[in-house]
Symmetry: C5
Subunit: 245 residues, 5 copies
């Protein structure tokens, strides 16, 4: 017998999800500078074999299908495993939808008694060796970072879902942490994503292999090197729209 859809709504946004998963670790992966959240999300899905269990839709989200091996996917999906849940958007979430999507996710988290929320954010490094830092909405979260030798972000702001999930969870007494990756360019950065995964493994007690991302990083780096050499020789034309990759 197929499971019935459960629907959670806030404003124009709607989460449609068949499954209940109690006591889960909830990870939020949406694109940010360097696409860290999104890259980490895809790696987690592949390595832990998570299944698509729902999606978030809204007339304010971009009206597109994402293709994966020729098959159409919602641009904002929800994945689940035994005790892990991942919210994955393949698009930058429009600023005027963050409030409602935060409400929806936190309502799901409450109803399913999730044990913790982890969000992922990123920032352009100001120089020096790029590193990983942490932030949280409770003292335990900060102590855990401290034990692992991860510095916390003393002041500043966390924009988007990664930030609003922390504050909204706090009002519901749900522990939430944010892993912040420094990146050295706005382009997809699998090396920084691999670093996030290494910390995520430790704090969430999971085992996701970062190696494929490190391999990809090496490929990108050597490709960029070759590209840089080429560019010096010819004039760059305007980038095409990324509709067909």
């Amino acid at each position: 017998m197929p499971l019935e859809d459960k629907i959670i709504e806030s404003g124009d946004c709607r989460l449609v999800c068949k499954n209940s998963i109690e006591d889960a670790l909830v990870i939020e992966g949406s694109p940010n500078i360097g696409l860290i959240g999104n890259i980490v999300g895809w790696r987690v899905i592949e390595d832990l074999g998570l299944k698509e269990i729902g999606y978030i839709e809204s007339k304010k989200l971009p009206p597109v299908a994402v293709l994966k091996e020729g098959k159409a996917l919602h641009p904002f999906r929800m994945y689940g495993g035994d005790d892990i849940v991942l919210f994955l958007s393949d698009f930058l979430i429009p600023s005027d939808s963050v409030f409602d999507i935060t409400n929806i996710i936190v309502e799901w988290v409450e109803k399913n008694n999730s044990r913790e929320v982890i969000t992922i954010s990123s920032v352009l490094a100001r120089g020096g060796a790029p590193k990983i830092v942490g932030a949280g909405n409770n003292d335990q979260s900060l102590k855990r970072f401290e034990k692992l030798g991860v510095p916390t972000l003393k002041s500043g702001i966390i924009a988007g879902l990664a930030g609003t999930l922390l504050t909204k969870c706090k009002t519901k007494n749900i522990p939430a942490s944010c892993i912040f990756a420094e990146v050295i360019s706005p382009y997809p950065d699998p090396r920084a994503a691999a670093n996030v995964i290494e910390l995520l493994n430790k704090i969430a007690d999971i085992e996701v292999d970062p190696q494929p991302l490190l391999d990809e990083a090496k490929k990108i780096e050597s490709r960029l090197k070759r590209l840089a050499e080429k560019v010096q020789k010819q004039q760059q034309k305007e980038p095409e729209l990324p509709i067909y990759l």
Copy 2:
């Protein structure tokens, strides 16, 4: 006795349609790069003798009448034959209406137990010989493309109705496929449309003659050649608004 109008609504959008057509193949043709969807749609109507059976209206769609042999048509119409239904827009669908129009079409499809949805999209070719590729929302769709020797679009996005119909149909277990044409310019491209029709004939088991489009393509190409020669001699003036063609 005239049929009564049946109305399906979502948000600001409204489908008005008198007819029920069970078990139909549903084709979506709306303009995209190279106007492929629209050109294919008109050819299907003419060759299969489809009749206008409804229209989609909304205060968000452009407030215009389209003229066909001096007679005014709604800019977004629905056509039907024995077991085929076509949604045809003569205007680029505004991004903020795609969500609601997708809901409306899929609701009609559900109520009329349509057997399959086929959408048409296009992309500027990156070089090499322009070709036709496929995408779908289910494994059967992808296998069918494979059998016909049509490559599938491994990754990327499908924007607009062509994409959202695939994901929305998936949530309702309605099989849907997208035929993707590579085009070599943003201008109307009847040759690429003819290629789409050849594939559409095979996967939908219909017989639409692509020849008139190939003839038109030849005319356009020789006209463009002459134009190119002219342009080299005189300065191009600003294009007029396309109100009166």
Copy 3:
């Protein structure tokens, strides 16, 4: 005893009209390129002695009063005679109000069993002698243009009220036609308006004298000629806002 106001509403728009006029010819005159619809409308009112019988108001229409001999008028008015009704706007109708105003007018037309709707549109001529063409929403309309030797607009689009009235009337089986004037500049063109009136007289069986418009055209043309001579001698200053004419 004063007549009570009858109100028809759609969205943000509202028609307030005291009178019922059965079996009327309904003319729509709103500004377009060359102000043809508006100029024709004013001439029809003056020559046929039509009386103001209502107005259309909306928070989306420009908040202004139009002055006529020192007296304030609504910017979008409805006029009536024995069996003729005219909708006259002195302002370009905002695109996002066309849908609702079309609904309102067609509802009035239905309730009053009007016999026919005629709209007026215009387009910048592409060269050659400017001419008058027709379009319609039914075969009788097109045959009538043909009998009078008026060519019909084979393809293209009709924007705004002039177009949407045709398609909306069609869904209600109300015959509607559009008279399309080619104009040679975007400025008020009384000569083209006079041509529209000559055709309107024939198809609507009314007698409106176009002569005052032809006289005005001559005056404008000789004024423009003098102006052109002046301009060649002195630098043109920026045009003032047309608040006080």
Copy 4:
């Protein structure tokens, strides 16, 4: 015992007013070119000793307090005397609020059986000696201007509250007139405001002294003269925001 607030609402706008004033002359003073309406309004309040009796608020009006001798005022206030009422805005009324504010004022006027409405508008003079002209929504109004030797504005438009009050009042059979001042610059013009007051005194049978405005005009003119001399000598810096005057 304090009077209870009476509230009139339309759309997002709200008039809050404690008092009823029967058979009043209602004057509308809101800023326009040369700030005429506003300057006239302040002079009327001071000379006739009008008291603040209400205000108009809306989330669409600018969120500010206006300071008068250190005390905060609503930016859009209503003043009253024995048989005179003044609506005074210190800010240009946003175009999308004019419709609702007009509804509110006219509803108050109806409920309080005001005897007449007078609005004030202005226009940049096209040359020649700047003068005062009139417009109205009824024949009596125009005849009164004629008797006083005041020319009426034959054609053109009156934008904003000054115009829409005329047309809305007309639909309710409330006599309304507009005094139109020609000004020679967009800056505050107390001399033109003084001229408006002289006419207002005659048509409204009140006695407001225009002399303070004439004195101010002289000061401004001599200040401008000195400024012009200075400017010729030094480069003008960018104007500061007028937050603290």
Copy 5:
């Protein structure tokens, strides 16, 4: 037993606050030119040991978390002590939310019988020694400034919450005052904030130590001096986004 949340709503905005605090002095601190309101607010919290007791949320406020020692805070918070309440925003309040947030705060003030509201605003000084000035919504407020030798702002406008709280409170007979700091640059100005605190101490009968701000001002000033020297030597690069401070 945890306190239940009390919710006050207006439009899209919502105040969530557990506590009731009778007869409090209410201070509003939101960023303005020189960040005065915000700097004063943080100093008041630290020195008086105020606790976070609520927050204001809205889909129109920026979707971010503010970090304080690694822990996530709502961007618009409410703090309380024995008989003092502070509303503190770390972001410029969007203009279209000021109306609703004013309603919310004043409703809280009414329900809790607060004794007085003090807002903080600022303006770029026009030259001369920057000073502190006052404004109010009642005569007692102005007399108190006078007694303390603080000049009042004769005319001008107060924008944002600082202004609208004054007018809204006036309609509810709640005494409110505004302390206006002149600043000499748009950058954070702890020296001006210290001056505001000195006056706030006097009029609110509290004791907040301005010394840390004066120390910070000295540091900033010497840092700016060094920076100015550097800048003269090298070209300034574009400022980075202040996401990670």
